[in-house]
């Protein structure tokens, strides 16, 4: 337990240090996701963030290149619209502090590779390099098509009272994967709409009941006068653990409001249709509200229901099927890159 607290302290220290770096504390980009960390709006930029609903830490970097001179014609430009990226996320059922354990990622780590193309349907610049603006209001429209390929590794301790006593506590290794295709468009710098489809291997760990107990091992000494009692705390999940392949269709919409004051805010609504091969489709929907004060920590709160129509859950009360989460995002601080 001491190690856990120590890491937690280090994490807080790191975050405070990162946030106090003046000069990097600019506006936060709206990065919008649900409790499972899913989003159709993939923002191609670097960040480090924490999502408390699924207790994850995320790191993301996107390589993108601005337009350069066309090697064949000096008057034209080459637009360099492809980009690629990487995202690493660690999540822990027991809280953020347990993501790293003795130097290993546990119990849940995921990594994704991205490949994308921007300005697919809406050009941002023409071949001579002039901005392309749309409509009578002369606004810019930007779009991205992103393909994501990811893998996930997790380890869970499970408890099953129906098994023989010695086998009631056991561990399960989960190896998941995801392939996602997302398209999103940003209109006039304020409205963004994204659609996505993904196929992934998932588990039902979120639906299992966390159990916590102390286990004692009693070893009597041969002389019969002394007894040693070893005690350890076990955190496990109780219930039938299953994995399945699911198709998820998602829609996200964001409205970013930038009044004349320094405080910007955004509304996010999202909807998911989750369809596993052997069960009924599940509708998930939610809404988020995010604040982006200039030069300060930014974040937001979101509320979502994981089963809108009560297709599979055993909780008839709608209010009890609502989850509330917090998201805090911060820009990557300088990583020691020297000035040229």
């Amino acid at each position: 337990m001491r190690k856990r607290y120590k890491f937690s302290g280090l994490l807080v220290l790191f975050l405070v240090t990162a946030l106090s770096r003046q000069g990097y504390a600019q506006n936060f980009k709206p990065i919008f996701e649900d409790g499972d960390g899913r989003t159709s709006i993939i923002a191609p930029l670097g960040y480090l963030g924490i999502n408390t609903e699924n207790s994850s830490i995320q790191f993301q970097y996107f390589m993108s290149k601005s337009a350069g001179a066309d090697p064949d014609n000096g008057l034209l430009i080459k637009r360099n619209r492809f980009y690629s990226g990487v995202k690493v996320a660690g999540s822990a059922e027991g809280g953020v502090s347990t993501i790293f354990n003795y130097g290993n990622f546990t119990p849940g780590t995921s990594a994704s590779l991205f490949l994308g193309h921007r300005s697919l349907l809406f050009q941002s610049i023409d071949k001579t390099g002039e901005p392309v603006l749309y409509g009578s209001k002369q606004i810019a429209i930007e779009d991205w098509l992103t393909f994501r390929l990811g893998g996930e590794v997790a380890s869970y301790t499970l408890y099953d009272a129906a098994r023989p006593f010695d086998e009631q506590i056991y561990s399960e290794q989960f190896r998941g994967h995801i392939a996602q295709l997302a398209y999103n468009v940003l209109i006039s710098g304020a409205t963004s709409v994204g659609v996505s489809w993904d196929v992934s291997k998932v588990n039902n760990i979120d639906n299992l009941t966390p159990v916590k107990f102390r286990q004692q091992t009693i070893i009597p000494a041969p002389n019969g006068q002394t007894t040693r009692i070893f005690e350890r705390e076990v955190n496990a999940f109780s219930g039938a653990y299953q994995t399945s392949i699911v198709n998820t269709y998602g829609v996200d919409a964001v409205r970013y409001v930038t009044p004349a004051s320094e405080l910007n805010y955004a509304f996010h609504v999202f909807s998911r249709l989750i369809h596993a091969a052997d069960s009924k489709p599940i509708y998930e929907t939610g809404a988020g509200f995010y604040l982006f004060p200039k030069g300060k920590v930014a974040g937001g709160v979101f509320i979502q229901t994981s089963d809108l129509t009560n297709a599979v859950s055993e909780t008839p009360d709608f209010a009890k099927r609502l989850d509330i989460g917090l998201t805090v995002k911060l820009l990557l601080p300088g990583l020691g890159v020297p000035n040229p």
Partner: protein, 106 residues
């Protein structure tokens, strides 16, 4: 013939940099880990003033900041900056760095 200089460029922004020009040349910049685009150009020819052009797209109110160093001297003590409006920001300008150098020498 224009004199050549070592030119270093740092453009910090969370927005997408679409196009950056120096003296009319389109120069491809790559985003680094801290959302800053950087490049160093050796022996870059400059006529009198240094003309620049920045075109970014992204979420509104996203700022961008441009720093330029010529022969390792910061010629942008007050950084050149802009902000996204209606989804974009396109700014053209020029820096009379020779006059600055002369003025400082005097």
């Amino acid at each position: 013939m224009a004199k050549t200089y070592k030119v270093s460029v740092e453009l910090s922004t969370e927005a997408t940099l679409q196009l950056f020009r120096l003296e009319g040349f389109a120069i491809a910049l790559v985003r680094t880990l801290d959302n800053t685009y950087r490049i160093v150009l050796q022996e870059f020819p400059i006529e009198d003033e240094l003309d620049f052009y920045v075109h970014c797209t992204g979420w509104n109110k996203t700022p961008w900041n441009l720093k330029i160093f010529i022969d390792d001297k910061d010629i942008t003590p007050e950084s050149i900056h802009g902000e996204i409006e209606k989804g974009y920001s396109a700014v053209r300008g020029s820096i009379n760095f020779l006059q600055d150098q002369h003025a400082q020498a005097v």
